[in-house]
Every structure is written in structure tokens, then in C-alpha cells.
Symmetry: D2
Subunit: 141 residues, 4 copies
């Protein structure tokens, strides 16, 4: 399993007139969590795109349990629980202190510049392998 | 079944450097489709909020099949296939001409200003009933 | 003078917790007004980019007088008061019925794909000329 | 003078199909710079709103010199060069390493919940005074 945590401070622009964070912004935060995870395993997203690869979002889900509000300091937890095959999946938890605000998931696949599906590059798989932790150990984080 | 269609023209601001629409914007379009549906059945969202009610998004999903691009004129199809109970669900299709670009869903429930869950108001249920069409007729649209 | 009017309906996503439209969204609306103007004079922005040209925003200003709110139907008035030279300028008014909510301006210049400044293409200047109206006539609109 | 510096890492969602940051996002970054400045002088924006005050943007300007791009680590410099009266003004510089990407300004005034203009609260003025530095010293930063 891979588990990374990124920090978000809610922007005024992300709120709406219900005085909560507008729901589509969680998908943007999920992406900041992916960017950080790729940094941490040593294959930054900018580098992936520099090789002519793309990593689009194929599906996205979110479940909103409690609202996030302006200026909240949040943790976005990203989990990869299965090693990548042609497609792969991330799960997310948005936490405010001890409170779980939302969960979500995205699935992805590599593509070339023309939108043609590709297998994940060997180096990506190797970096995932190197960062992989047994689930028991990972949950102790 | 209820089926409504809203028109979107893709804004420059909605694109990203992959030259496609950034994926979180589809959730914003789904909302414009809900707003239009509520207009069409005769209970505008602004009126719902004026009564002290809220109709937050509880879950959202999207599946991205083909990219939408700058200046595309899109149709956002909204479907309500089951009558509302405490919670209810909308499904969406994003279409560019004959091409299906994406599908999605959201689920919702009524709340008061303090976030307490409420049953849907009688008038809302009555308006849904009045607009309801047998599924066969609806698909002929 | 060129004067065009585009219609906007305020999206929920565009509001913030002060229950008004978040101020940066006016710049997005100004852009929808430019896109419409280019359509109307017969040289759509998509066509400009298809020729390898870019038309970036060089400066932007906005003055917020009264708030726009969720679901407001607004008119975005665009004015070009001086014919384009190397750079050119648009002015904007955001109106809600008879009420002026905001004014603004943007300035622009043509560039190639590499960001090098270019003189406006002849066809662009010709289309502007063809659409130009004496100021007196234009204000009677 | 007051001079604070906030850090931004450009999000994918902030880019557009010209492969640069979409111009309205600079106004959002200016706001993150104001929020940080208020934190640093000891009167967080959340606290201002908790007292029933609002601090809306009255005017905004931006001048775009060089594009910001995905994943850039930027510094947003905020400057307050004149002490606040009924209205007050911030200036901004967006820097990428030694390169100045953009400048801008916003002006503001305090309001109550109903949009009525108010003089700045004494505590706000006192906090500004306490943080104020002679311009010469400040520019040496």
C-alpha cells in the first residue's frame, strides 16, 4: 500500500453561498494529493508529461459527509491499495483534525499525446514497488 | 422519469494544459442541469433556499469517456429515474452532437440551515409527480 | 465603436460564503463577452488559435460597485472604443436589469505560439472595420 | 510599509489550454497573500468576519508580464505602502525565482453584514501600526 498525506488550507474562492466548500473543489484537492504522491515516490507528474505521457482521470467519485469551511486546515490522505495494472485507482480521505469530512476515489490510465491508452511505464511500476508497504505497516502511520 | 437537457458552451477558463476540459468542471455543469430541471418543474432552487432549505450534494460520480474541448457546444442530459424518498439521485450524460463524452450521477437530500436532514417538502414531491413521464415516453424525447 | 452584449446566469459555483459572486469570476465573464464579440464580427477565437495565433490578456482591471448573486441573469456589455493597434483594449459593464454592478477593462496583443508579439492580422483589422459604428449610433443601441 | 511573502505551487486546475495559468487565478492568489498578511499581523480574516465585518474587494488590477506554468513554485509578494483610511490598497508581485511574472493591486473597505461602509476598526489600525516598517528597512528584506 502507498499512503501519503498532503495539507490544504481552504481558500475563500473555494467556498459557496451555503458557507461551505463547493463540492467540485474536492476533486482539485484529490489532484494535489496525487501530485504530492508522485513527488514522494520520485516520478513527478511534470516529468511524466515531459516524456509525452498523459495520466488523465477516467473516473472520479466523492462522498461528502461533513462540510469543509473557509480557512480550515485539512489533510488529504491518498491511498493506493492495489498495484497498478493497465488502469489503477487511488482512494482519498479528507480529514479536519480527527473528523472525516469526505472520501473519494479516482481511476487513471496512461495515454500518449493522441489519447491512445498505454501500459504504465516500467519506471513508474518500479517506483511504486519501491515505495510499497505491507498494509499492516502502512496503517500504523 | 424526468429528463431535461441544458446547453453549455465550454469556457476557456474550463480547459487545462492537456487542451481538454479540466475534470472537476463536469460537476459544475451537472449543477447547471439540476438548476434548469428545478426551473422546468416549477420549483426553482432559489425558492427552495428562500424557504430555509438546502439541497446539498451527498455523493457525486463521473466517468470520462472522451474529452470536451474549448468552445464545444454540449448538451447536459439530466435523468431522474426513481421518485425521491429521503434521498434521491440524478444521472447525467454529457453529449457533443451524437458523441457521449461523459456520464455521472449525484445524490441529494434536503436539509435545514443547520444541516439537519429533512424529508422532501410535499410541494417538491407534487411537482416531481406532475412532471413524471412513463419511461418509454420519456426516452422518445 | 463596437458594442456587444452577452448573457450570463450566475452559477452556484461562482458564489462565495459572503453570499455574492467571488470577484475573480468577473474576469471569466469578460472573456465570454470577448468570445461572443469575436463570433459576432465573424472571426471566432477558435479560428484565431487554429492559425497559430494567441490573444492573451496583458492587463485586466475590475471595479465592483454592487454584488452579483446566485441565479442573477446578467448582461455583460463589451465596448471597443478605439481601433486596435499593436495592443488594443476592451471595456466592460456588468448589468443586472438597470443596475450597474461592475465595470472593467482588459488589454490584449497578438502573439505567436512562442509568445512573440505580432501585429494584428489584416483580416482581424478588416472585420473590426466592417463592424465599426460611429459612437453616436452605437450608444443608441 | 508592510511586506509579506506567501508561497504558491501552481495547480493543474489553474492552467488553461494555452499551457499557462488562466489569468483570473492571480486574483485568487492575491487573496491568499492577504489572508497570510492578516495572519502575520495578528488579526486573521476569519476573526474579522466573526465580528460581523466584511472586507470586500472594491477594485482589482493585474498586469501579466510572463506566464506562470503548471507546478511552478511562486512567491506572492504583498505590499501595503500607505496606512489605511476609509479605503486601503495592497500591491502584489508574483515572482518565480528572480523573474517577475505579474504585478497587481486591490483596494478594500470594511463593511457590515448589510454592505454598509464602515471605518476600519481601531484594532485593525493598531495591528497595522505595530507591523509597520520604514520603507527603507522594508525594501532591504
Amino acid at each position: 500500500m502507498i499512503h501519503t498525506i498532503s495539507q490544504i488550507r481552504v481558500r475563500y474562492a473555494e467556498t459557496d453561498r451555503m458557507d461551505v466548500v463547493y463540492h467540485s473543489n474536492y476533486l482539485v484537492w484529490f489532484e494535489t494529493a496525487r501530485i504530492l504522491m508522485l513527488d514522494e515516490i520520485g516520478i513527478p507528474y511534470l516529468e511524466i508529461e515531459a516524456r509525452g505521457l498523459r495520466l488523465p482521470v477516467l473516473t472520479a467519485t466523492a462522498e461528502y459527509k461533513r462540510p469543509a469551511r473557509f480557512d480550515d486546515r485539512l489533510e488529504i490522505h491518498l491511498f493506493m491499495r492495489e498495484k497498478p495494472r493497465a488502469r489503477f485507482r487511488f482512494e482519498y480521505e479528507v480529514r479536519h483534525g480527527d473528523t472525516l469530512l469526505a472520501t473519494g476515489s479516482t481511476s487513471h490510465g496512461f495515454m500518449d499525446k493522441h489519447g491512445k491508452g498505454l501500459r504504465p511505464p516500467e519506471e513508474f511500476l518500479a517506483k511504486i514497488d519501491a515505495a510499497w508497504k505491507p498494509q499492516a505497516a502502512a496503517t500504523e502511520l
